[in-house]
C-alpha cells in the first residue's frame, strides 16, 4: 500500500512538472478538472471518499487536497493544504495537491466571494473553512471506524491516515474506510483541534514547489505550450488611453514567420512563430495613434496639481476632538510635506497569457491572481457561457497585485479569437513597465501640536491623490477611497485631536494594487512624521511611540519586541544609526528597526533590518519569515530607486536599466521574529512592506540630521560637502 501511495504521489508530482503538461486536456499544473468534463474525476466517484470540494481519498489511500489560492511565491501551494491535512490527520508528505480550476461556486474565497487572490487573504480568509473541511472528513472516517468495531465515536481517535480504537489499539487505515465513510452524513460543526494538537500548523513544512523551481520544471504562464500555438506581441499606444488610428503592416508581414497582424483593443498584435519574430514584426509596424487627453499630463503637472489641490479642504476621513482649534492655540507645532511617486510592480515574469477561443469553447492558461475574473473575461470575449470557460492557473512569476488585472488576459483572448488559433501573448519588459496599473503618487501635508511637556495634542494630515477603487469603478466617486486612507486614517497614536482629510485628484494614470497598496505610502508618511514629532519633543523615537500606544497593545508589543531584538539604544559603530517604525496592515502588526549609514557621497547603506510580525497565528513560520524578508527587499527597492515618471502621458522608464531593482550586494542582513499572539490569523504577504521605508528614513535622520520627505531617496540631498 505504501509503495502504491508513494508511486501515485510521485505521478502527481510529475504531473506538476513539464512531463505532465498534458495540454489539450486542460492540465497545466497537474490538476484534474471536473468542469471540463474530459477528465476522469467524475467517473471516479465510486471508491472515492470526497466529503467536500477540498478532499478526496481513494481506496488506495491516496489523499488529494485542492488548493484554491494561486501560488505566486507566497507558499500557498504548501501552506493551504497543510491546514486541511492537519485537521484531516494525514501524512502531509504523501498528499497530492491539485490546483483549483476557476469555479467560484466551489472554490471562491468565503470572505470576498471571488476567486481573486490579493490583500494577503490566503490564510486568514480560508483557515476556518479549510480546518472544518479537514475535521469533517476526519470525523466521518472516525465514525466509519467506530461503526466497524461497534464502539462509540468517543472511543476512537486517529493517527495519520488511520482510525484507531483507543482502548485496544486496533487500527483501520483511511483507505479501508473510504466506501463506508462516503455513505455517512457530513457533520456541519466538526470538532476542531486545539492548537497543542496541531501536527503541521505552526511547524516547519518544506515548500512543495521548491524541487520544481530548482531544475526548470515548474511551469509558469510563459512556459505554457499548446499544440498549434502561435506567439504574439502587441504594439501599444505609448500614451495611456490612446487608440489606434491606423496601421500599416506591410513591412511587418514581410518578416519570415510573421503570420498575422491584427488590431485588438490594447493595440496591434503581431502574431507569428516565435517571440523573436513577432518583436521584430513590431519594430517594422507603422501605427498612427490617437493619443487622447492624457497626452498633456506629465509628472511635473501632476505634482503642481496636487500642490494646488492641497490648499482645498478635503473629505474628512477622521475627526477626533478639534485639531484645527488645538493647532491655532499656540505652543510648539511641527509641519512637514511628504511626496511619493507612482510605482510599478515589476514581476520577474513579464505579463503573458495563452488562450484558445473557438466558437463553442474557451480555454485560458495564465499566471493570474484572479482566476475567477479571468473566467468572466473569457466569457465576455468568447461568448461562451461563463461556467464553460476553462481557466488553468499556472505558477506565477511574481504577482504583487499586478496579476489581478485583466489586460493581459484580454490580449490573449482577443488575439486568439481574431486568428482562430491558440495564442500566447508575451509582453516585453518595456511593455510591462510602461503599460501597467501603478501605485498612486500622492502629496501629503502634516501638522502637529505639542504641549509644553512635548506631549502631542493635535495631529492634522491631508492626503492628496487619486483613488484606486474609484478609478476602477469599485467605489463611488465623491466618497472616500479606502485604499487611499489605509494606514493614514487609522494611525494608532493616542492623540486627543486628530483630523485626517483626503483630496481626490486623478490625472488618468492607470492605478493598481501594489504590494501593501495605500499602506505602502501612508506608513512611510505617518511613521516619518511621528519621528519628526519625537525629535521636536526631544524624546527618543521608540519611547515617544511607546508612550502613545497605550490603546494599541498589539502595535506596542511588536514595537517593543523589534526594539529589544535590535538592542535599541545600545552603541553602534561610528556613522551608523537606527530608525524604527510600526504599522497595522492586512490584519497583522509589524515593526522594523533599520541600522543605516550614509556615505560622504550621500549613498545610503542599510546594514541590518530587524523585523517583527504579529500575524495572530503563523501557520507556516518559515514562509512568514520569507514574506518578511522579501517584503523588506521590495520596500527597499522603492526607497532607493522606485519611481515611475510621466512625460506627455508616457512612462519614461523602459527597463531595469532605468527602473532598477535592489541587488544582492545592496541587501541588508535581515533578522525576523514572529510574535504569535494567538489572535485570529492575519495577512502575511504585504505587512512586511510598509514599515521598512520609514524605519530606514528615520535612521537616516538619526545619522545625518536630514529628513527624507520624498521617495525615492535623492542621494544628492545627503551629500556632505
Amino acid at each position: 500500500m505504501a509503495t502504491l501511495r508513494t508511486t501515485q504521489a510521485r505521478i502527481s508530482r510529475r504531473a506538476l512538472i513539464k512531463g505532465g503538461l498534458a495540454v489539450g486536456t486542460g492540465l497545466v499544473v497537474g490538476f484534474r478538472l471536473p468542469v471540463t468534463g474530459r477528465g476522469t474525476a467524475l467517473a471516479q466517484t465510486t471508491g472515492v471518499f470526497a466529503p467536500n470540494q477540498w478532499i478526496k481519498i481513494d481506496r488506495d489511500g491516496l489523499v488529494t487536497i485542492v488548493n484554491s489560492v494561486v501560488e505566486m511565491g507566497q507558499g500557498s501551494l504548501t501552506t493551504m493544504p497543510a491546514i486541511v491535512a492537519d485537521e484531516l490527520d494525514t501524512d502531509l508528505a504523501k498528499v497530492r495537491v491539485d490546483q483549483a480550476p476557476a469555479n467560484p461556486k466551489l472554490y471562491a474565497n468565503p470572505v470576498t466571494n471571488t476567486q481573486s487572490y490579493g490583500g494577503s487573504r490566503g490564510v486568514r480568509d480560508h483557515i476556518t473553512m479549510l480546518r472544518k473541511a479537514g475535521a469533517a472528513a476526519r470525523e466521518m472516517l472516525m465514525q466509519a471506524g467506530a461503526n466497524e468495531w461497534g464502539v462509540p465515536l468517543d472511543d476512537v481517535t486517529t493517527e495519520p491516515d488511520a482510525v484507531v480504537h483507543k482502548s485496544t489499539g486496533r487500527r483501520l487505515p483511511y483507505s479501508a474506510l473510504v466506501d463506508k465513510a462516503a455513505k455517512l452524513p457530513v457533520p456541519q460543526n466538526p470538532k476542531l483541534k486545539t492548537p497543542d494538537q496541531f501536527r503541521y500548523i505552526g511547524k516547519a513544512m518544506p515548500r512543495r514547489d521548491t524541487p520544481l523551481k530548482v531544475n526548470g520544471a515548474a511551469i509558469y504562464g510563459m512556459d505554457v505550450q499548446v499544440p498549434g500555438m502561435l506567439i504574439a506581441s502587441i504594439e501599444r499606444c505609448p500614451v495611456f488611453g490612446g487608440k489606434v488610428k491606423s496601421f500599416d503592416a506591410t513591412a511587418a508581414k514581410r518578416i519570415r514567420g510573421v503570420k498575422h497582424v491584427v488590431q485588438v483593443s490594447n493595440g496591434v498584435a503581431v502574431v507569428g512563430d516565435s517571440f523573436w519574430t513577432v518583436t521584430r514584426g513590431r519594430k517594422a509596424l507603422k501605427v498612427e495613434w490617437d493619443e487622447g487627453p492624457v497626452a498633456v499630463v506629465s509628472s511635473a503637472s501632476i505634482s503642481q496639481g496636487y500642490e494646488a489641490a492641497s490648499g482645498q479642504t478635503g473629505q474628512v476621513a477622521r475627526n477626533d476632538g478639534d485639531a484645527d482649534k488645538s493647532l491655532a492655540a499656540g505652543g510648539k507645532t511641527v509641519e512637514g510635506i511628504y511626496q511619493v511617486p507612482f510605482l510599478e510592480h515589476a514581476c520577474m515574469e513579464p505579463m503573458n497569457a495563452t488562450a484558445l477561443v473557438k466558437p463553442d469553447s474557451c480555454e485560458i492558461w495564465a499566471p493570474t491572481q484572479n482566476p475567477g475574473g479571468t473566467q468572466i473575461t473569457g466569457a465576455r470575449i468568447s461568448g461562451v457561457p461563463v461556467e464553460k470557460v476553462v481557466v488553468n492557473t499556472t505558477f506565477l512569476g511574481g504577482g504583487f497585485g499586478r496579476r489581478g488585472e485583466q489586460d493581459f488576459i484580454v490580449d490573449a483572448l482577443e488575439t486568439s479569437k481574431a486568428v482562430g488559433a491558440p495564442v500566447k501573448v508575451i509582453w516585453t519588459r518595456e511593455d510591462d513597465l510602461q503599460h501597467s496599473f501603478y501605485r498612486p503618487a500622492t502629496y501629503n501635508i502634516f501638522k502637529a501640536a505639542l504641549d509644553d511637556k512635548g506631549q502631542p495634542v493635535a495631529w492634522w494630515n491631508r492626503v492628496v491623490g487619486p483613488g484606486i477603487l474609484i478609478q476602477k469603478g469599485r467605489a463611488q466617486a465623491g466618497t472616500i477611497d479606502g485604499t487611499a486612507m489605509e494606514g493614514a486614517r487609522n494611525m494608532p497614536y493616542d492623540i486627543p485631536n486628530v483630523r485626517v482629510e483626503w483630496v481626490h485628484k486623478d490625472y488618468g494614470i492607470p492605478l493598481g494594487f501594489w504590494r501593501s497598496v495605500g499602506t505602502s505610502q501612508n506608513a512611510f508618511i505617518v511613521e516619518s512624521f511621528v519621528d519628526e514629532m519625537a525629535h521636536a519633543a526631544g524624546k527618543d523615537p521608540f519611547e515617544f511611540r511607546r508612550s502613545l500606544l497605550g490603546k494599541a497593545p498589539r502595535h506596542k508589543a511588536v514595537l517593543e519586541l523589534a526594539a529589544s531584538k535590535a538592542n535599541w539604544g545600545s552603541p553602534l559603530p561610528a556613522g551608523r544609526a537606527r530608525g524604527i517604525a510600526v504599522c497595522f496592515s492586512y490584519a497583522s502588526y509589524a515593526a522594523h528597526v533599520a541600522e543605516v549609514s550614509v556615505a560622504p557621497d550621500g549613498k545610503v547603506r542599510v546594514h541590518k533590518l530587524v523585523g517583527v510580525i504579529d500575524p495572530g497565528l503563523a501557520v507556516n513560520p518559515d514562509q512568514v519569515k520569507a514574506q518578511m524578508e522579501g517584503g523588506a527587499i521590495y520596500a527597499l527597492t522603492a526607497v532607493y530607486y522606485g519611481q515611475i515618471t510621466i512625460d506627455r502621458g508616457r512612462v519614461k522608464q523602459t527597463n531595469f536599466t532605468d527602473y532598477p531593482m535592489l541587488r544582492i550586494d545592496e541587501a541588508p542582513v535581515m533578522d525576523v521574529h514572529i510574535l504569535n499572539s494567538g489572535e485570529a490569523a492575519g495577512g502575511l504577504g504585504e505587512p512586511g512592506v510598509p514599515t521598512v521605508a520609514p524605519a530606514v528614513c528615520n535612521a537616516i535622520f538619526a545619522a545625518t540630521g536630514k529628513r527624507i520627505r520624498q521617495l525615492p531617496i535623492q542621494t544628492d540631498l545627503l551629500k556632505r560637502a
Binding site: V214, A217, F275, A346, R429, A626, F656, L662, R663
Partner: protein
C-alpha cells in the same frame, strides 16, 4: 540549420544564426527552464552556462555559441542533486522561483571557481541576478550551504 551542444546532446536547430539563444532554447528546444526577464542582459533570468561560464542568452546569438558546451538549468544535474540545488531545497530559497534558474547557474559557476566563496565573492558573482521576491538572504545562505555540501561530498 545550426548545431548546438545543449546539456551534452548535439541538437540540429532550424533557426537563423542571429536568433537569440534564449528563444532557440525555449521555443525550438522546448527547454523552458531558462527564463525571459528583461531582454537587455541586466536581470540574469536567462543565464545559461557556456563552457562553464554564465552567459546572458537573451543577447547571445545562437550562431555565436555553435560548437560550444551549453548547459541550461535542466542539464545542471540528472537528479536535482547538484550541491546548489540540494542547498536551495534544504533552505527553501525560491519564492515565485522565476529568477532561480539564472541564480542557480550563477551560483554553480561561482562554486566551480571557488570552493568556499566569501560574502564579497557572492556579491560579485550574484549581483547580476535580480530577484524581485527578495530571496537574497537565502541565496547567500544557500551558496554557503552548497559549498559545505560539495565539500562533504568530495
Amino acid at each position: 540549420m545550426i548545431t548546438l551542444t545543449v546539456n551534452g546532446k548535439r541538437r540540429q536547430v532550424d533557426a537563423p544564426p542571429d536568433m537569440p539563444l534564449l528563444w532557440v532554447i525555449r521555443e525550438k528546444l522546448n527547454l523552458t527552464g531558462t527564463k525571459f526577464g528583461c531582454g537587455v542582459a541586466v536581470c540574469g533570468a536567462c543565464n545559461v552556462l557556456v563552457d562553464g561560464s554564465p552567459v546572458r542568452s537573451c543577447v547571445t546569438t545562437a550562431g555565436a555559441v555553435a560548437g560550444k558546451k551549453i548547459t541550461t538549468i535542466e542539464g545542471l544535474s540528472a537528479k536535482n542533486d547538484h550541491p546548489v540545488q540540494k542547498a536551495w531545497i534544504e533552505l527553501d530559497v525560491p519564492q515565485c522561483g522565476y529568477c532561480q534558474s539564472g541564480q542557480i547557474l550563477s551560483a554553480a559557476a561561482l562554486l566551480a571557481q571557488k570552493a568556499a566563496p566569501t560574502d564579497a565573492d557572492i556579491d560579485n558573482a550574484m549581483a547580476g541576478n535580480i530577484c524581485r521576491c527578495g530571496t537574497y538572504q537565502r541565496i547567500r545562505a544557500g551558496i554557503h550551504r552548497a559549498a559545505q555540501i560539495k565539500k562533504e561530498g568530495a
